[in-house]
């Protein structure tokens, strides 16, 4: 892959004008990666890396990724919460890069909750 420069990034500006508006508030999917001490120690950064790669490959502009701290379920870290607009948030447990990609492709993009990995549905 050719090395990116700031000039290359500025060219993205036109295509992301719409994107900026969406990122600022109109996201329809929110993915929260829990990066407390427990999450980081359990491999949360690798999950984030996988998520970043999936975000780079998708055309979707309405997905927002945020990090938060520990949610209190440390023994099941890395945890990832996926919230589709209008649906209950789903907390996934014991995540790794491979599971993150699957959750992204199947739940985030297609709306299919991956119950095998899910810890809970919050409501």
């Amino acid at each position: 892959m050719a090395k990116l420069t700031i000039e290359d990034l500025k060219k993205i500006k036109e295509s992301t004008k719409k994107d900026t508006a969406l990122r600022e508030g109109g996201a329809t999917v929110k993915i929260t990666v829990h990066l407390g001490t427990c999450g980081i120690a359990a491999g949360g950064r690798e999950v984030m890396d996988a998520l970043l790669q999936e975000m780079a490959e998708t055309e979707r502009q309405d997905i927002r990724v945020i990090t938060s701290g520990c949610m209190g379920m440390c023994s099941s870290e890395p945890n990832v919460t996926v919230e589709l607009q209008g649906k209950d948030p789903v907390v996934y447990q014991l995540m790794d890069a491979k599971k993150m990609r699957q959750v992204f492709k199947r739940h985030v993009l297609l709306g299919e909750v991956q119950t095998d990995f899910a810890l809970a549905r919050m409501n």
């Binding site: 290359d8 990034l9 994107d19 900026t20 950064r45 984030m48 780079a56 990090t67």
Partner: protein, 184 residues
């Protein structure tokens, strides 16, 4: 933690949780002094003086979800294990500075690890926070400031995947450069 970069990510997350919008990370590797120094400074809400002694106690936390707070105590133990020092300074309303040193050739020193992955994860998850990252190897500097990047991007969001890729490459190559000269 397996890598120093994971401790660093954890301490920076503390700053973000404290409401900081500007975090300085400084890493110095000095082979003559046989020392690594890691400093994380944030402009978050700070720690009241009365609590400052307690924050490195693993059984103390201001969180309500659980009764342990391991990040600072693990980092302190990592530095002590490597015959280093650890300190926290803080002023309420102004921010907090955490500093840890490690003996560079200590057998128990964890590798620095994937610091570019740590930084891009932090930027991705907290795009409104600015990070100033400076890394010195034997006095040779590498510097990254998300404020300058944001200015140059002219509106392209810093957490856009291509921007994060650029930042990751910039860090990786910058660190290789300052390390390469040492080996030459």
């Amino acid at each position: 933690m397996r890598e120093l970069s994971l401790h660093i990510m954890d301490i920076i997350e503390n700053g973000i949780g404290a409401g900081a919008d500007l975090i300085h990370l400084s890493i110095e590797e000095d082979h003559k002094k046989n020392l690594i120094r890691v400093t994380v400074t944030d402009n978050g809400q700070g720690i009241p003086e009365a609590l400052l002694e307690k924050v490195t106690d693993p059984f103390f936390t201001t969180r309500t979800t659980r009764r342990v707070g391991l990040g600072l105590s693990l980092f302190r133990e990592a530095s002590r294990r490597c015959e280093g020092d650890f300190s926290i300074e803080s002023r309420e309303g102004e921010g907090t500075k955490v500093e840890a040193t490690f003996r560079l050739d200590h057998i128990d020193l964890a590798p620095m690890g994937d610091i570019e992955g740590a930084m891009t994860s932090l930027i991705m998850g907290s795009a409104d926070v600015d990070f100033v990252y400076s890394h010195h190897v034997d006095g040779r500097p590498f510097h990254l400031d998300t404020r300058s990047i944001k200015k140059e991007l002219e509106g392209v969001p810093i957490n856009h995947p291509k921007v994060l890729q650029y930042i990751s490459e910039t860090i990786r190559e910058g660190l290789a450069e300052i390390r390469r000269k040492r080996n030459a």
